[in-house]
Amino acid sequence: MLTADRTIAASIMALSIYFMWHATVLPIGWVEGEGPGGGAFPFWLSAIMLLAAGGIFIRSFQADHQMTSEDGRFFDRTTITSVASVAGALIACIVAMPYLGAYIALPLFMFWYLKMFGGHGWVLTLSLCLTTPVFLFFFFEVTLKILLPKGWTEPWFFPLYAAFF
């Protein structure tokens, strides 16, 4: 818990410095008769973030704080495997979306989640994997006129476009 607390505080500090660096593109000081410049808000807010995260970091080394934070681990082995595998599959699905298209990537993700991760039966898995894209198509594309990314599968949809638009 203590290590995680420090790691997160340190990451936030690094993020603040990164933000501050980028904020300096615009003036961060006081413009006479106008108030703060365009970069002032992001710069000084990130500075506040840096100080507060620094406070959390330093505090974690104090004796009485260590006593209260020592109990309990941030992750146990089973938690980290299940959470990380879902997060990984989700990210893989998102990254694949512009290439495979939403109608391949999303059902694939659902199949992985329901069948391999959740251990559900074929009937439930396949019925959800097959009805979801149909629902998405009719809700987003036909009703809302929002086109989801299709990637390589785009040509498959030409007959459907012709039928519904």
Binding site: S16, S46, V83, L90, L106
Partner: protein
């Protein structure tokens, strides 16, 4: 009198067949979302918000308000039947609701929770109706200086009253505000924080992207971690005989219910407080004023009724500052506010003048949503018992797919979907490390208003920083903000002095 006339006009809007239909759909969806352990109103609204483009804004906000309402009712269901709060707002309901279910009185507890929610909601909506117009009138006198001071006050309540780690709260507020500055500078129009000229950042970071990431994906990851074991569902039977018996019992609890309603309403208005502390406070108050405090925690119905009136009243209360001042009272109302901005409406006092149909339509829909929620809640209890048995993986997969597609739909850019995934993982880790997420979302929503009002005031006053304390209203807000900000310091000094004195004694 004028209020009544406006409310009557509002009913003309909200009682159209279409809007009644919307309320029924919203309440039912909200009930299910609220009843699912882990998912609450804020998750429901975040996930559904991108889908609301299908209806006109006035119906969209009615739909979201109905989901919000339904989720407040639904939270009690899993608190009672599973012993797991459906949302943090229903934590206090488990204290006595679960023991009641274990004693075979699940039906009674569910009826009590639904009725109490109805009473809390109704009293709060009446208070809302009375306060809305005067508060909006007051807010019309606000200039940018007052607006800035009020936003500052909203943030300092998180520091002073939030109850979370002060440093972590400050980190989250600053992070949210810094993220809100991404994009084009409000005054000069120049790009800033675009991280090496990434085109996706030019339009800024939408509150929706953060909300879907944190409350959609982050929440699912959190739930995967916490719901390792499959909890057992207590069956509940409802009959008219039980309904009659429980109504008779509830009739004796007016003191707790009215206390809970008023407390909930006013606590709900404060940005940092909201429905969860309101429910806990109402529970504590019901217990301390009871003749038989020892029976609390062992299945006393008053322990179900008090928090349920309070959390529903609070959810209504938090709508009041959102609608009248443009300052949301809770993360869910922050999302509603963001949604309104997305639909081209500007929440705040001018809305009462420019869009009276919209405002009063929404207020009157709260009355109908309340009636619909109590009826649907009671009617669907057998279905909830069934739905709670649904494996969580099924729900999670659907929620994750909706998050991805819902995040893509408004802007139609993959950039936003990548951000959602990033925020989801970051939100999960931050939450695990006890960083409060509500101030982060609120800060992202209110950030542009805060910066704009601050800089507008200074431009108007030729850079005179004292302008904020020269106007009485803004000076008052800033004074209050200072008190809230220093509150944790006072507390710390007091405890450390006490600690310093003990060894000397």
């Amino acid at each position: 009198m004028e209020t009544l006339a406006l409310l009557a006009d509002g009913f003309a809007t909200s009682l159209s067949w279409f809007n009644i239909f919307i309320v029924v759909i919203g309440v039912t969806a909200g009930l299910f979302i609220g009843a699912m352990p882990g998912l609450g109103s804020v998750n429901g609204v975040a996930i559904v918000l991108p889908l609301t483009f299908i209806v006109p804004p006035s119906s969209a906000i009615i739909l979201l308000a109905a989901i919000y309402y339904g989720a407040m009712y639904g939270g009690a269901v899993s608190s009672i039947l599973l012993g797991i709060p459906g949302a943090s707002t229903a934590v206090a309901t488990t204290f006595d609701g679960r023991p009641m279910a274990q004693q075979g009185k699940a039906g009674l507890a569910l009826i009590a929770a639904a009725t109490a929610s109805f009473i809390g909601g109704t009293i709060a909506v009446i208070l809302f109706t009375l306060f809305a117009a005067p508060l909006a009138d007051l807010a019309l006198k606000f200039g940018p200086a007052e607006e800035f001071a009020l936003v500052l006050l909203a943030f300092t309540t998180f520091v002073g009253l939030g109850g979370d780690d002060v440093l972590k709260t400050i980190v989250m507020i600053a992070l949210g505000l810094a993220l809100s500055t991404v994009g084009l500078d409000l005054i000069s129009g120049q790009p800033r924080l675009i991280f090496g000229d990434m085109p996706g950042f030019y339009s800024g970071i939408s509150f929706l992207v953060l909300a879907i990431g944190v409350y959609g994906i982050g929440e699912v990851l959190h739930t995967i971690e916490t719901s390792k074991s499959n909890p057992s569902v207590t069956p509940a039977r409802l009959s008219f005989r039980e309904l009659g018996a429980s109504l008779k019992l509830i009739n004796k609890m007016w003191k707790s219910m009215s206390l809970g309603s008023f407390l909930g309403f006013f606590v709900g208005m404060l940005p940092a407080a909201g429905a969860t502390p309101a429910a806990l406070m109402a529970y504590g108050m019901a217990r301390s004023t009871s003749k038989d405090p020892d029976s609390f925690g062992k299945g006393n119905m008053e322990g179900v009724v008090a928090p349920e009136t309070a959390n529903n009243a609070a959810s209504t209360g938090s709508l009041l500052p959102m609608l009248t001042l443009g300052i949301p009272g809770s993360p869910t109302t922050a999302l509603l506010l963001g949604g309104m901005v997305m639909w081209g409406l500007v929440p705040g006092p001018m809305l009462f003048i420019e869009q009276p149909d919209f405002v009063w339509g929404l207020i009157s829909s709260l009355y109908t949503a309340n009636v619909a929620a109590v009826l649907i809640n009671l009617a669907l209890i057998p279905l909830f018992v069934y739905a709670l048995r649904m494996p969580f993986t099924v729900l999670c997969s659907v929620v994750l797919v909706l998050c991805i597609v819902g995040g893509f739909a408004p802007s139609q850019k993959m950039h936003d979907v990548y951000l959602i995934a990033g925020f989801g993982v970051a939100g999960y880790l931050l939450r695990k490390a006890d960083y409060p997420l509500a101030p982060l979302v609120l800060a992202l929503v209110l950030g542009p208003l805060m910066e704009k009002s601050f800089r507008q005031t200074l431009i108007g006053e030729q850079g005179n920083i004292l302008a904020f304390v020269e106007r009485p209203l803004s000076a008052t807000f800033i004074g209050l903000a200072l008190v809230f900000f220093l509150l944790p310091l006072f507390k710390y000094l007091r405890t450390s002095r006490r600690r310093g004195m003990t060894p000397a004694e």
